[in-house]
């Protein structure tokens, strides 16, 4: 009956496994990465930008300073040049014809005036030395060589640069160890050799100031004819800004060009010096950025941890919830969104839990209701089964007391009652008595409530008990009573119900039950009980009727047995005086007491004969009575019929004495041995002979015997008055007189035939009669053959 719901409740909560491998901590990593990018990138950008800017500014500044130095030096050089041009104009104006003295005089003056001037040489247009003042050899050899000039001239015409090497003006030319001023005209070329230190001094004077201006690595060069001095190396790139100079050193440079002399001043400072501070700043910046990054990371880690820890806890709780553990509660540790989230999570978890529990409770409630329904159905089934059993029991039990006890037991067992009692209204109706109760012991051992202990033995009209009320009102009465136990478990409902046993409008009794179940006796239960009560009533009536019948039958039987006993006793009592009569009459007839007259003897003989007949009759009655009382038992033994007949024949002869009757025997020699009680069979034969003799005046009495496989037949035929067929049956009935229709009184056949019939039937045989009125009668009886077990003993 629908137990599926119960099973459903027992189903285990499914545990889901959440695939979170490799996902834990992901949030922290993401946040940390974002933090790092957000903090370090701007810092790095700003730092980089600042460093770059600073670098550019510095470069600019240094360049300006260098430019200033270059300009300054250039101006100084310009002045020097102008001065030198003025001082050296004289020889230029000299033509070829100028006297040596003149030249010597000028040299003397100029040499003192210009100590830097080491010598002057004039070359003709072919490069031939015209004259020389002072020493200007080396220079002359280089600068004054025709190749030199020619080369310069040629190149001057060929290139833009050489455009600055014009004729008719001073041009400064540098060599490795000397400087020369060259003034070329169409006719000649005048070379003024200068001390190498002259220009160097100009460039490098006031070194201290210069140091301050151009720094430790600052250097001033002269650039001329694409060469750089000191050194005379090929000028790679000159001048502006940041570059790598001829010494392969990254420098910042500034250039000042003097048009008049086709010479430039180049001031360079190593970038390393220039950018030293800026590099330091950059390094600092990088360190700073790194430090900030580190700090940021650490802080971020802490912050993220702060943020993610509750999130992780939430996550873990959520995972736990997803896996089925709904009892999740997190402590709200922070007053922020996470805190709110935690709080809300808790609320939700609690809601979910309560929802789930609510659901479970509902399921449980539903299950319980179903179980209750099941229980009710089962109980109903039990009750129906019980009523069926009761019905079955009561149809098979005839004894009312036994019936009531069985019913009480059955009801108590089937309905699980504490006790069941059945009361029966006593005849007269004034009193109702307890007739059966279950358990058989008094129920006070079962129920420990004092006043519930025992069902009263008697209920009197008007005593107000539940039984009396049910009997009086003829309806079921139910009483509920709560026990006042303090512990709920022990608290019970004591329900007593009394159901009248009604037969139409009579109340035969009351069925009373006591229930100590929790729910007490319910309406449906009462209905079943009423149904049962109806059945019990019917059964009780049946049993009572049966009992009445049985009692009647028993009384009848008892009466019959009494009759038998009475007759047996009476016969015995009757025989005693009869024996005296027979004895003394015979005594007198025999003449023991003295001789009698013939008349006396005749009279005495009559007394004796009738006393003898009376004795036979009494003996028959005794035998019949014994049979009726069940006191007659056969003592079977193997008997040959011929022996019996031989024993009977003297009696038979005596019976037919004085009559013209022939006794004939016809017994085959091979007649089987009989298994009979010889005394009884003898009595049968005597009766039949007696009967035949009584009703036959003349003729024959024939005893005949024959047999087939199973039966031996014996018949006694006479040639007497015969019996009308309608009397055949009555012949074998006790005390029926053989009186014929004409009212002719025949000597009573008494009990002889009835007794014979009884004896024959006791042997398993039959007896019957064939007769024709006035021709004779034939009584025949059959006996089963004796199956010999060894040598048949004979009487």
């Amino acid at each position: 009956m629908g137990t599926g719901v119960v099973a459903g409740r027992e189903a285990p909560r499914r545990l889901r496994s959440i695939p979170t491998t490799g996902m834990r901590g992901g949030l922290g990593r993401t946040l940390l990465t974002a933090f790092l990018i957000l903090t370090i990138l701007p810092l790095a950008l700003i730092g980089g930008y600042a460093a770059q800017n600073n670098r550019r500014n510095l470069q600019q500044e240094v360049k300006s300073k260098l430019q200033a130095v270059a300009t300054l030096k250039g101006e100084e050089l310009q002045q020097w040049f102008v001065h030198m041009r003025q001082a050296l104009l004289t020889p230029i104006s000299w033509t070829t014809d100028a006297s040596a003295g003149q030249r010597e005089a000028w040299w003397e003056s100029i040499h003192k005036q210009e100590p830097d001037l080491t010598g002057v040489t004039r070359l003709d247009q072919n490069g031939q030395e015209l004259w020389t003042l002072g020493t200007c050899r080396s220079t002359a050899r280089v600068a004054g060589s025709p190749d030199f000039v020619t080369e310069r001239t040629a190149s001057a015409t060929a290139s833009d640069h050489n455009a600055h090497f014009p004729l008719g003006r001073f041009v400064l030319l540098g060599d490795t160890d000397a400087w020369v001023l060259v003034y070329a005209t169409q006719e000649h070329t005048t070379i003024f050799c200068l001390r190498e230190s002259a220009l160097t001094r100009i460039i490098q004077y006031d070194a201290l100031l210069d140091k301050a201006l151009i720094g430790e690595t600052g250097k001033v060069y002269l650039v001329s004819q694409s060469r750089i001095w000191p050194g005379g190396a090929e000028a790679v790139s000159v001048g502006n800004g940041v570059y790598v100079n001829h010494l392969n050193v990254p420098v910042i440079g500034a250039y000042y060009y003097l048009d008049d002399f086709d010479v430039g001043v180049l001031v360079e400072q190593a970038q390393s010096e220039t950018l030293e501070s800026t590099d330091r700043i950059a390094a600092t910046l990088i360190a700073l950025v790194l430090a900030v990054a580190l700090a940021t990371t650490a802080i971020a880690a802490i912050v993220i941890r702060q943020i993610t820890r509750p999130v992780i806890r939430l996550t873990e709780s959520a995972v736990a919830m997803a896996e089925g553990d709904l009892a999740q509660h997190l402590e709200v540790t922070s007053r922020d969104e996470i805190g709110i989230l935690t709080f809300v999570f808790n609320e939700m978890a609690a809601d979910l839990k309560s929802l789930y529990e609510d659901l479970e409770a509902k399921v449980a409630e539903r299950t319980q209701r179903l179980q209750q329904a099941n229980y009710l159905i089962q109980r109903r089934a039990l009750h129906l089964q019980a009523s069926q059993e009761v019905a079955q029991a009561i149809t098979s039990v005839r004894d009312p007391t036994l019936l009531l006890n069985q019913v009480a037991d059955l009801i108590r067992e089937s309905f699980v009652y504490a006790s069941v009692a059945i009361y029966i209204v006593e005849p007269g109706g004034g009193e109702i008595r307890l007739r059966a109760h279950s358990p058989a012991t008094r129920p006070d051992t079962v129920v420990d409530v004092a006043d519930q202990g025992a069902w009263p033995e008697h209920v009197y009209a008007g005593d107000g008990s539940i039984i009396e009320r049910a009997a009086r009102k003829r309806v079921s009465v139910v009483e509920h009573q709560q026990t006042d136990e303090t512990v709920e478990w022990y608290r019970r409902t004591l329900s007593r119900a009394a159901i009248p046993l009604r037969m139409e409008d009579r109340v035969l009794g009351v069925l009373a039950v006591l229930s100590t179940e929790h729910e007490g006796i319910q309406e449906d239960e009462l209905e079943v009980l009423e149904l049962l009560a109806g059945q019990v009533t019917v059964a009780l009536e049946n049993a009572r009727a049966y009992e009445r019948e049985r009692l009647a039958a028993q009384r009848l039987e008892e009466a019959e047995a009494f009759k038998g006993r009475f007759l047996a006793n009476m016969s015995h009592e009757l025989r005693e005086p009869l024996n005296t009569i027979i004895g003394f009459s015979r005594l007198m007839i025999k003449g023991i007491d003295g001789p009698l007259t013939s008349q006396q003897t005749q009279d005495m003989q009559r007394i004796y004969d009738d006393a003898q007949r009376l004795l036979f009759l009494i003996n028959d009655i005794l035998a019949i009575s014994q049979i009726q009382a069940g006191m007659m038992e056969l003592r079977l033994q193997p008997v040959r019929l011929q022996d019996l007949v031989d024993a009977v024949m003297p009696t038979a002869s005596a019976l037919v004495r004085g009559k013209d009757i022939e006794l004939i025997q016809d017994i085959p020699a091979d007649l089987p041995v009989l298994n009979v009680d010889p005394i009884r069979l003898r009595q049968v034969l005597v009766h039949l002979f007696n009967n035949a003799a009584k009703f036959t005046e003349r003729g024959r009495i024939t005893l005949k015997a024959w047999h087939n496989e199973n039966q031996v037949y014996v018949s006694v035929s006479d040639t007497g008055v015969g019996i009308p067929p309608e009397d055949f049956e009555r012949l074998f009935v006790r005390f029926e007189k053989g009186a014929d229709k004409e009212g002719r009184w025949q000597d009573g056949i008494g009990l002889g035939l009835a007794l014979s019939k009884e004896f024959v039937e006791m042997h398993g045989g039959q007896i019957w009669v064939n007769s024709e009125v006035n021709k004779g009668s034939t009584f025949t009886f059959s006996l089963p053959c004796y199956v010999a077990d060894g040598d048949g003993r004979e009487v």
Partner: protein, 139 residues
């Protein structure tokens, strides 16, 4: 059990019989036989009561249907008495059923004569008993 034969004229016969008429009939018949001395007790109890006062008894004829104690009980009592241990005791009873005779044989009676007494045969039956013969005749 065998007992010493005795001629009727010398025999003393004890008759235990509650019916006086029967006793008288029996004494008459016994007298016819030639028995001169008959003792009469109405019950087995009385036999025991007066066992000491009784003279010598040769045969006891005992009714079974007796008041107080029946013939079987009386037989047992008499047999326990030294004076009757070797005296033949004959059941004389109206209960002539084969069962009863078998029971009498079982109980230790020394003969059985059915009632009503046949006056034609009774003296002869007693004569045989006195001659030392066992008589078991129901009628």
């Amino acid at each position: 059990m065998k007992w010493k034969p005795i001629v009727p004229s010398e025999a003393v016969i004890l008759i235990v019989e509650d019916n006086l008429n029967n006793f008288i009939l029996m004494t008459r018949l016994l007298a016819f036989l030639g028995v001169k001395k008959c003792e009469w007790k109405a019950s087995g109890w009385k036999v025991l009561e007066f066992a000491e006062t009784l003279g010598n008894v040769d045969v006891v004829l005992m009714d079974i249907a007796l008041p107080d104690t029946d013939g079987y009980q009386s037989l047992a009592s008499l047999r326990s008495h030294p004076r009757f241990q070797n005296v033949p005791i004959i059941a004389v009873t109206a209960d002539i059923s084969a069962e009863n005779m078998a029971r009498a044989r079982e109980a230790g009676f020394n003969g059985f004569i059915g009632k009503p007494l046949d006056p034609d045969r009774f003296p002869e039956q007693v004569r045989r008993i006195l001659a030392g013969e066992e008589v078991w005749e129901r009628e």
